[in-house]
Assembly symmetry: C2
């Protein structure tokens, strides 16, 4: 048994080797595995069950908002990419191509579906009656990443949803792109218990082909920012490139306005980083595929009695996602470790002594506390504890985020704070060249977002000292 | 308005040009569209909503059976295909390959995932404790079809689920592959109202690499058989090829047994063919994204009153998937046509005269019957009518199927009945060559299945007159 226990546990420490720790938690927590194919991952059942929770939650929200799901082809003709110059240039390094000897044209595996969807939109949209058009698809996308890949965070294939809407007016378009950003915030904060910051992207970080990109950013425990979701105001760029037009109420031909927005399986990576610890996964109750595990503590002579009681408890608590671990051949201690590794929020231990006292022992995964609970109070206690775990995880993460945002008045200060793994607010000129320089000199700091609430008075750019355009949040990112 | 009505309706007749009729119903019923890419389709929101119903229904069933969802990479290294010779040969003509200049190996876009999944299984499975392993994935697959493509039925990319299970014994494996086939039958008959026949495939029609393939076949109104779902007993073929082994309870190294099984978006094609008519789609209530549509009948002077009453009805019936069509600028007749085209099972008409009588007019899509219903009886009437439409559609299709199965005692008889678009039962030797000949001589008839219930006494093969192996059902297929 000892050998197995060694094999199970996480060896790296979160505070010492974050990257190796993360990899171990993902793999040993059974969320995902590396594929034989370089840069590709396999999403294992527990990881996929988390994705299904995110999907189900988000899918319900957008359906209420009038969005409908559809499915567009995986392959995109090369000519489509060439229609919107900035989009083509932005995605060029990441495309994988399909050979087809019959065809004259090369096909790219979709890295995102603007071009193939808008080709259809140009045929489907005729009049103002067809607008707003709000479609979404859940699918796989491929980006031939050249950087080091990382499970869930940066892989050559990942799963996501992409929403693509078309509106009569610029106003509607602008308004709704924030609606979707708010839905993402709800997913991050309410479901995953990860606090996020919201804002606009600078020119350098904007989505290829968009007029404006809006983003949610979270801060990971290693001091790096992680983009959690984005929403793009495409303006009329793609409508122009793909010839999307509609007949207005005034019987005149008009050009519509578009936005697109997405979240991906990357959120599962953020979830792991934000909450997990040196014993493995820690999952917020709302997204945990298993919320409670019952571990009966028995010897062969009282196995029957204890397991029977455990089964009774399980059926009493059947409204939760609950598992009973009555496997033979494993010690309770070994089982405790395994379920801790898997991040199950609540563990219920029950043995002969507990049965005699009509109680169970309830252990919390998030803070390791243990307490005896009378069985007739268990239902209420479980409900309260799950709620408390969910809010505690969020509050802890929120405190961490708040204590790591700081401001820098000058370039020296900026450098020092970036080195100290802070998110740094500073005035910035907005120029791509200047941001390139900041990235080079700091070993990787880029603008994460331009906060929606800007100060009334702006100072000089923290790097070039020229007139600044806005206050920007900088940080290192994945 | 007339011009629009012309454009909306189906021009081809189901009995005269089935193929063109089908294409029109799919496109004008807004289920799917052809893509600019040859052989690819776009699944539009209504089509995708039907797929979501199938998914949700089947996903619940398999989760109850202990199957868990996962996701494996889209790309499959060429070397994986070469490991199982029969599998490699079977799929060779249908593969599309990805170019990647950095890599030495070519990658195929998955046509099915046995090889990439079993490569992982060989690393994951260690002992009998890891078995049975039951994984499923919902994904896109690509088969570079050379035959004429047809929306939903035969396209170069389609959506499906593929289940892949591993067991300790041959018995478990054989038993469960029929479990999944039964679930498919439930989906076809209970949800889609399409009766199916079940049986085994002959050597010629077997899945590439399988020991045995089990199939469900339905008969379409043009006399062609359509494969609705398959389950394969893979035996130990892939375990051998991919080195999947486990340590048995007896501490000895053993080789496991496997099955795989799938259904696809092709079912939506079957749904259209089976029930729809010259006015467009006819959808069984259980799978219809919209089950009821309310069309208020008003003039500008009484619009307010009528629409208000219609809204009241809608909110009373909110447990159904219901829509209220209060658009201005379209006549009730035009709306009726449009909702008929879209296959909505029940239409409720309500005008000032109905309001005065405290009634509505209820129209059934399946048989065009119309009747006045008192509003206080509407809820019960709707429930009964939806159930009746569901069972009527099934019974009608069942009657059609039964009346088109026949037996052939000799080769002349066989030919005549195949020409008459029947499903023909005949004794057959089971040889691939003999089946090739039958196909050539009849212009396309192949064995559809070997029924599970075989006669005790067999006659001579209907084609070669040699000893027959079983009674087989022959027919033409898509």
């Amino acid at each position: 048994m000892n050998k197995k226990e060694d094999k199970l546990g996480i060896k790296a420490k979160k505070t010492e080797d974050f990257s190796e720790w993360y990899n171990e938690v993902v793999i040993k927590g059974q969320l995902a595995d590396h594929s034989t194919l370089k840069g590709f991952m396999i999403i294992k059942p527990t990881g996929y069950a988390i994705w299904e929770k995110i999907q189900s939650c988000f899918d319900k929200s957008i359906k209420k908002l009038g969005v409908r799901n559809a499915y567009f082809p995986l392959l995109i003709p090369e000519s489509f990419f060439k229609k919107e110059a900035e989009h083509a240039e932005g995605f060029a390094p990441e495309l994988a191509w399909v050979m087809d000897e019959e065809q004259r044209e090369k096909y790219a595996l979709r890295p995102t579906s603007e071009t193939i969807m808008y080709d259809s939109y140009s045929r489907w949209i005729r009049s103002w009656r067809d607008l707003p058009l709000r479609l979404n698809q859940w699918c796989n996308v491929l980006r031939w990443e050249v950087k080091q890949t990382k499970l869930f965070i940066r892989t050559r294939e990942f799963l996501w949803q992409e929403g693509h809407c078309v509106y009569e007016t610029d106003e509607e378009c602008k308004k709704e792109k924030l609606t979707y950003l708010n839905e993402y915030k709800e997913i991050c904060e309410d479901l995953l218990a990860i606090p996020v910051l919201e804002g606009e992207k600078t020119d350098r970080e904007r989505f290829a082909g968009a007029k404006t990109t809006y983003t949610l950013e979270a801060l990971m425990p290693d001091g790096k920012a992680l983009q959690m979701g984005t929403s793009h105001n495409l303006g009329q760029n793609f409508a122009k490139a793909f010839g999307i037009k509609y007949l207005g109420k005034d019987e005149k031909e008009r050009m519509p306005w578009q936005n697109s927005w997405g979240i991906s399986t990357r959120l599962i990576g953020a979830l792991v980083m934000a909450h997990s610890d040196d014993n493995g996964l820690v999952l917020p109750p709302k997204v945990a595929p298993t919320q409670i595990v019952i571990v009966p503590i028995f010897k062969s002579e009282n196995r029957g009695e204890v397991v029977k009681k455990a089964e009774e408890l399980k059926s009493k608590l059947k409204n939760y996602n609950i598992e009973l671990d009555d496997r033979d051949g494993y010690t309770p201690g070994w089982k405790f470790n395994e379920w801790e590794l898997k991040g199950v929020p609540i563990r219920i231990e029950i043995g002969p002594k507990d049965i005699a006292k009509n109680q169970v022992v309830l252990a919390r995964r998030d803070n390791n506390s243990k307490e005896a609970v009378k069985i007739n109070q268990l239902d209420k206690k479980i409900k309260d504890t799950l709620e408390d775990i969910q809010s505690s995880l969020f509050n802890k993460a929120k405190k961490f985020l708040n204590s790591n945002i700081t401001e820098a008045k000058n370039w020296n200060d900026f450098n020092k704070k970036i080195k100290n793994k802070k998110l740094v607010k500073a005035f910035f000129c907005g120029k791509v060249d200047c941001e390139d320089n900041i990235k080079d000199k700091t070993g990787g700091a880029t603008s994460r977002l331009i906060p929606f609430n800007q100060p009334k008075k702006l100072g000089k750019c923290v790097h070039c000292n020229k007139e600044s355009k806005f206050l920007v949040l900088f940080g290192k990112a994945y």
